[in-house]
């Protein structure tokens, strides 16, 4: 008995024979999840051909299940008409998010030619700065008034809530659209119907349209009592809501970026196993080259001290130990402070406080490691080498922790991602200064 052809094979046969009717029939037998999964594994070309065979409503459902990388691959392949009709049917915030992910040239053409971008809320949202929460909020919401009853508010939610992205946290506004408070759908459902809304609302929390999306998202996720964050304009009038799902996606993307960069790579735009070797290598090569340049600097530093090295070759044995400990101490400090910045637990103005704290921490760690280093090196290589290693370790740890702790704050001040800026800088700085310190101490103690 011959094996049944797999679904992918039989679709391919249909495509090869240019039998679009048969391909369409086969696609209609799949549910939306299976469809998006199936298209996800196709080449961009084939994916676009199959995608165009789907009925409009289904196409939109499938499209919304793709991750942004696949969405933008697809947009690039589709015709202008298909693109326009797709964008017209996306909610405004997804429309803006996707446009931000597309290659600049494609994005520009779409914004200029697709009608939905030049009209209404989408046009307004595109006016907010890149990375601001104004570009990520949902501009459609249902609201309540403080002086109406719970029953009246619940009734408005029932009538208009279908349009809104989020109805679990409802903004309570004055007639002027300024925010007076927030009421949860939970409270509206559980409270006595005749109570005024104001009796069950909580104090308003909000973000400004031009606030950084990441900060607004973290603020929302830190609030236990609300599931969406009101976004207000410069005159404190409500203009949209940031939903919990969107906040979670924003924070997750930032965390993924931070984790990747702390490990010295750019985040992958697709799941790891689906990314090609070339794609993985591309996410790492720039960083590796930057860090290699730092390595070349150490070659130069060592070259200066070559005469010292030739007199006492044992000095070279400790090079990887010292640069390693310096790099680790620096990256520990940088990681802690970067995290504290992201969690809003430390500010740029705390720089003096952070530097002092890290200097003392580094001194303490250096004293512990220095004592150990002194003991081990003295026994094996003699008292003078022990002294060199011990003193160098104290200095290296103190400098590395201080620089490592301060660097993320400097990065933030000059508006660079702390994770991007800190790792190569600290690695370069600690390796080079560590080695200079090492040879200076060696010359002094060993008298060479």
């Amino acid at each position: 008995m011959p094996a049944m052809p797999s679904f992918t094979e039989s679709i391919e046969v249909a495509l090869d024979a240019n039998d679009l009717g048969s391909a369409r029939t086969q696609l209609s037998g799949l549910d939306v999840d299976a469809l998006s999964e199936h298209l996800d594994h196709q080449s961009p070309r084939t994916r676009a051909v199959l995608f165009r065979l789907l009925p409009k409503a289904r196409a939109l459902d499938v499209f919304e299940r793709f991750d942004t990388a696949v969405q933008s691959e697809l947009i690039v392949e589709l015709s202008d008409d298909d693109t326009a009709s797709l964008f017209d049917r996306l909610p405004p915030d997804e429309r803006v998010e996707l446009i931000d992910e597309l290659p600049a040239k494609v994005a520009k053409r779409i914004v200029q030619t697709v009608p939905s971008f030049s009209r209404g809320v989408t046009a307004t949202m595109l006016g907010y700065p890149q990375d601001s929460v104004g570009r990520r909020m949902g501009p459609e919401y249902v609201h309540a008034f403080p002086d109406e009853t719970v029953a009246q508010a619940l009734d408005r939610v029932k009538r208009l809530g279908g349009q809104a992205e989020e109805i679990y946290t409802i903004p309570v506004t004055e007639r002027s659209r300024t925010l007076a408070g927030l009421i949860s759908l939970r409270a509206l459902v559980l409270a006595p119907e005749g109570d005024p809304v104001s009796a069950h609302m909580i104090d308003p929390v909000s973000a400004r349209v031009d606030d950084e999306a990441e900060l607004a998202a973290r603020r929302l996720l830190d609030e236990e009592e609300i599931s969406a964050l009101p976004i207000v304009d410069t005159e404190d009038r409500l203009v949209g809501m940031l939903g919990g799902d969107d906040a979670h996606r924003i924070v997750e993307a930032e965390d993924r970026e931070d984790a990747a960069r702390a490990g010295g790579a750019e985040p992958l735009s697709r799941p790891y196993l689906l990314t090609s070797v070339l794609g993985v290598a591309r996410s790492r090569v720039v960083w590796l080259l930057v860090l290699a340049v730092s390595g070349v600097l150490t070659v130069n530093v060592l070259d200066i001290f070559q005469a010292t090295l030739e007199q006492r070759v044992a000095l070279s044995l400790f090079i990887p130990l010292l640069t390693g400990i310096g790099g680790n101490t620096g990256s520990q400090a940088a990681t802690t402070v970067t995290r504290a910045l992201a969690m809003d637990e430390a500010q740029v103005r705390d720089i003096g406080h952070v530097a002092f704290k890290e200097a003392r921490t580094g001194l303490l760690l250096g004293a512990i490691l220095g004592l150990l280093g002194f003991a081990v090196a003295s026994i094996v290589f003699g008292l003078d080498m022990g002294l060199v290693i011990g003193i160098t370790l104290i200095g290296v740890c103190t400098i590395a922790a201080t620089v490592g702790g301060v660097m993320p704050l400097v990065a933030k001040t000059i508006r660079v991602d702390p994770a991007v800026f800190s790792t190569p800088f600290i690695s370069t700085f600690c390796d080079a200064t560590g080695l200079i310190l090492y040879f200076m101490v060696a010359k002094l103690v060993l008298g060479i």
Copy 2:
């Protein structure tokens, strides 16, 4: 005019004078947020004294605002009676979470003496494995039946929803308590009242009580349509719900841990600026020592090749460059794979796939860096040194990427946190093998 004493000062004066009445009056003038903020900054001793002055209901509100580290400090200071009354009034999931954070001895005494631990759901929850979602779920929920109307279901929510932690996602169960589907409060509010619940419910998603809490939490956060995840027992009967806030806290704690460990430190239990220098140093010292041991290994490796080093001191100039590039390549690979594991994008069974992918990626990166290294080293130190550096870089990158990619999967297999296990191991392994490879290539090419 003398300056007004600050709030903290005047409380201190009252405490020093043993005037508890005045201290109590002063505390009653603060709102709950200000109170918890104020107590947060006190020493554990003073905090406990002041905490005991609060009326019971307020004390509970303040207690729930502390982070877990402060909560456990406080529990240790309070009397058994105070502790028992506090635990009695906490919801079961917070009770279990807090007990898991306390020092083992204190936890054991409390579980044995506080009545609420030996009874009902709390006792059941304590029976689930450490780190399982069964210990983190809320055991109280409100449910709906598939064959009742939307109005009937909404009515039950109105009557019983006050007890449940979560009412935005309502589990729909058969009479046997097996899960039939899920319906959102949004759907219950917006749907026509006479429709059956089954017409608006979505397919059930759930986790098992003994599933890892982190995996269950990520599953919930990845689902866009639900805000709480049903937890079922081994017979598929509903036993509780994991709420979105709890899921977010679980994932955030895991991410903080991963970020800290990727940077070579344990996570801090309190905000950075509130942690003492000693506390910060403690979170880093163990790791630094582990990594220092790896450094000692490199001293030994270099010692073996001391004769070679003495013949050609220029070889020592490239040591930090080579170990640096090896370490970076390894940690890039480890970071990517650790993340893929956490996001459930790769499994232990993919180990062959991962190893092959990383070997090719490492070879590609090694070829790029090797070519550059060859060019630079040839010009400055001659063709033979160029060859040594170029060949070594290809080897180092290939080995480091492969080992770095495979290590997190090995860690997962032997049930150790990939982040804990990978960093020191990769650092040790890459430094040592990199140096051995370097000197072997050098001996071969240079003929020494």
